[in-house]
């Protein structure tokens, strides 16, 4: 974890368009952001794409960071990117289903996204939680932002954030015990 002074220097370098500073930022945050995307999508290929998209977007957006928690700001962008991805995927699924009903009335088995990957147990159980709860748990875990910041990011009262997180983690714990 970069110290505040180091982080301030790196962000300042990024704002000046310094490629080296962006490289440092990638080194610091890529692991956590990748974990966040992977736990939400369950797919390495999508996580690769989303991580790339995030850092390229960051080049254009870094000047709009006006201080405060950088992690909070960064993960808010990551969260928006994830929800955009989800919307695109849902639209694709709708189109795909419509096409399937029109042209392929017979049942066809399609390969799952993660068939070629080792799916760990946590990933399986996380998939049983609703998207909003899963995103909240991952946001809290990987961004390391405070509950206050997370509540602000999600535009909801802190009590709502806390109770949602509590319910989500309790459910996850039960699911993991039942495996």
């Amino acid at each position: 974890m970069a110290k505040n002074d180091d982080l301030a220097r790196i962000i300042s370098g990024c704002k000046s368009g310094n490629a080296e500073s962006f490289s440092e930022l990638v080194d610091i945050y890529s692991s956590r952001l990748y974990g966040y995307f992977y736990r939400l999508t369950g797919n390495r290929e999508s996580s690769d794409d989303l991580l790339s998209e995030l850092f390229v977007k960051l080049v254009g957006k870094i000047r709009s960071f006006k201080g405060g928690s950088f992690e909070g700001w960064l993960f808010k962008i990551a969260s928006n990117i994830f929800y955009d991805y989800l919307r695109d995927k849902q639209q694709q699924k709708k189109l795909f289903d419509a096409q399937k009903n029109l042209f392929e009335p017979e049942e066809v088995t399609y390969a799952k996204e993660s068939d070629d990957e080792r799916i760990d147990e946590l990933q399986t159980q996380l998939g049983k939680l609703d998207t909003d709860t899963r995103e909240l748990i991952m946001l809290r875990f990987y961004s390391q932002a405070s509950f206050k910041e997370i509540a602000a990011m999600r535009s909801e009262p802190i009590g709502t954030t806390l109770s949602k997180l509590h319910r989500g983690l309790k459910k996850l714990q039960k699911l993991m015990e039942q495996k």
Binding site: M1, G17, A19, F22, S23, V26, D27, S30, S31, R32, Y34, G35, Y38, R39, R44, S47, D48, L51, S52, F55, V56, V59, G60, S69, D120, E121, L122, Q123, I137, R140, F141, Y142, Q144, A145, S146, F147, K148, E149, I158, G159, L162, S163, L165, H166, G168, L169, K170, L172, Q173, M176
Partner: protein, 169 residues
């Protein structure tokens, strides 16, 4: 990785205050432990290298765009400056003074081809010119008993003086 990191909050206080539950703190801690024990995969080195290359290309593209915009802005500035200069120059061109005669006669009378129709004053002026013309001819031919040529020369000199006095005002 810890869930709280450097923005550590007192979960116990927070939960007791907002949810009024000690059990909630325990549930949260257990959940965190599960997440810590099952680490997500790390991004490939190749992916990280690609991202860095993409960022460098994006920065380069941004710099090129910034240069083009700057050059366009400077060119636009020069064009605007040139237009303003031309406008200012045009307004500064001094119009030649109107002939003094304009002050004596109305413009319409001055420019008219038919002086006799332009009013009583103009008609009188025309008559006077005709009179002078016939007097001059008479003098030239010595009809009034004088040396015609000399008299005409004297008259011309006098008229020239009157003319120059008239224009001097």
């Amino acid at each position: 990785m810890t869930m709280n990191g450097e923005t550590e909050e007192n979960l116990k206080d927070l939960f007791e205050k907002l949810l009024n539950s000690e059990q909630a703190v325990e549930d949260i801690e257990k959940g965190e432990r599960i997440l810590r024990e099952s680490a997500a995969p790390e991004p490939d080195d190749e992916l990280i290298a690609d991202i860095k290359a993409e960022i460098t290309a994006s920065l380069l593209h941004k710099k090129e765009n910034a240069f083009v915009y700057k050059a366009a802005a400077i060119a636009a500035g020069f064009i605007i400056l040139a237009i303003i200069s031309v406008k200012l120059f045009e307004t500064k061109i001094v119009q030649p003074p109107k002939p003094a005669s304009n002050l004596i006669m109305p413009k319409a009378v001055w420019e008219s081809e038919r002086l006799a129709d332009d009013g009583a004053d103009s008609a009188a002026l025309v008559d006077e010119v005709k009179q002078i013309e016939s007097d001059l001819l008479a003098m030239q031919f010595g009809e009034n008993g004088s040396n015609g040529y000399e008299t005409v020369t004297e008259m011309e000199t006098e008229l020239t003086e009157i003319n120059s006095d008239f224009w001097k005002g």
